[in-house]
Symmetry: D2
Subunit: 146 residues, 4 copies
């Protein structure tokens, strides 16, 4: 049931990442974007850490939430928007590495609600460890409603 991402929608998704101040502030970029899928990657700086030297859970939830929202956005029709309703994240292992990556995949692209999961990894090169997992619910908003 996978579909192809149109050029227009791909461009809108790219803007959803490049024009979001907090995502730009973190330095995140799209590394994969397909219908129902979005992977975001960001460099880990000293300012992103917890007091114990690991990446703060809030940085991980930010990247994962935004990847989930963008993944859900790929499945929408023109004139529709995405809003996060809620998300739940489990921290699995301490996050240590040069980069953080959130791999989001839509598991239900609904007419009004989409459900998306994301796996979060920390590392670099060929060496990544899964540090968290997110299950998120997104609202599909028709522009006429907004």
């Amino acid at each position: 049931m996978t579909q192809t991402l149109s050029d227009t929608r791909r461009q809108q998704c790219t803007q959803m990442v490049s024009q979001t101040p907090f995502i730009q502030h973190l330095g995140a970029e799209i590394s994969l974007l397909e219908w129902g899928q979005c992977t975001l990657v960001m460099p880990v700086g000293p300012e992103h850490l917890q007091q114990d030297g690991f990446v703060h859970a809030g940085v991980q939830s930010t990247l994962a939430d935004h990847a989930c929202g963008t993944a859900a956005y790929t499945c929408l029709r023109d004139q529709q928007q995405i809003l996060s309703i809620e998300f739940k994240m489990n921290l699995l292992r301490p996050a240590k590495g040069q980069q953080l990556k959130a791999v989001a995949e839509v598991i239900k692209a609904g007419r009004r609600v989409s459900v998306v999961q994301a796996q979060i990894y920390c590392g670099q090169g060929d060496n990544w460890v899964q540090t968290a997992t997110m299950l998120a619910t997104m609202a599909v908003i028709d522009s006429a409603e907004a």
Copy 2:
């Protein structure tokens, strides 16, 4: 069953906020700290926003998670640490204002696991709107284990 927060523990909690790079990066400070309770406040800057001008959900989850962890930490014995196991956040309303505030309260201070809820508000002065709610689970770690 409320207890008094010892000076030593109060100081450790204060350090848990002042020595966490990402929390300092956001500009967050403690505005209330008692046994089982922690309120964090931060100024909202343009870099904390979503593309639509509202505060990014990730900023809200960061502040709420850290408030929940600090609230849980107030209930621990010496030599114990707190680690986030998981959290779930519902976004209730668009977050717009000069400041963001997370009010966390422990609802179960367990021997091994603590459960904490946080209410997140955005606004300034006497004008605050609740924008999100979090329910979080924290692990109590004995230093000997770590």
Copy 3:
């Protein structure tokens, strides 16, 4: 902002409990019903237990989910229905007692999505212990859409 529950809506809510086979199977009844609020109570039988003699988490989540849905339903207009989108439940303490009670309260009655929390108690008479807490998201469905 609390409103009064109309007689028509009260009757529809009562039917939502009395005409749901699994809720009747558990023996649950409404003990409080107001705008934005619903409390359900059920007798605990030996068939509702976990192998350790405590009430199964699934019984608690069933009662809490249904109380949340009914509480959300009290806030709707005619011709609207409620559907559970998702719920998250924390188990706080072992559940032992003659009755189980779920006290649900709407924290956001939205046009399309409602957010509800429930506190779950086990006990009898004047002796109740909180055993779980739920945070749930419900979809508001217009009959025309269904």
Copy 4:
């Protein structure tokens, strides 16, 4: 890193299902049990339904929670027990069919906490539809502590 399930542990897991009153009350049975994995199946009866004729979310969460707990239990050492800390379930589609199935898989088997996900399906024969997904956190309890 998958391991083999010992006969002793397999027998303990089987008992965890066959000796749990509420699970027996629902008629659930193990259809797959391996290290880190448990699938439970149950027949859907008229008493398990919502007022709209679909399987109640509470039945689904019960089956999924128990499958998650049993899957986590397969990874434990002797003398350890499993307790549900929390779970979150998203309802994806209406559940209609002769049987309900919960396929649980451990995604982190920790020393103190395990994280498990479950996919819930409704249907029969070769015709199953995914109706829900769960992400659950389980505590690993040493018998000495209990």
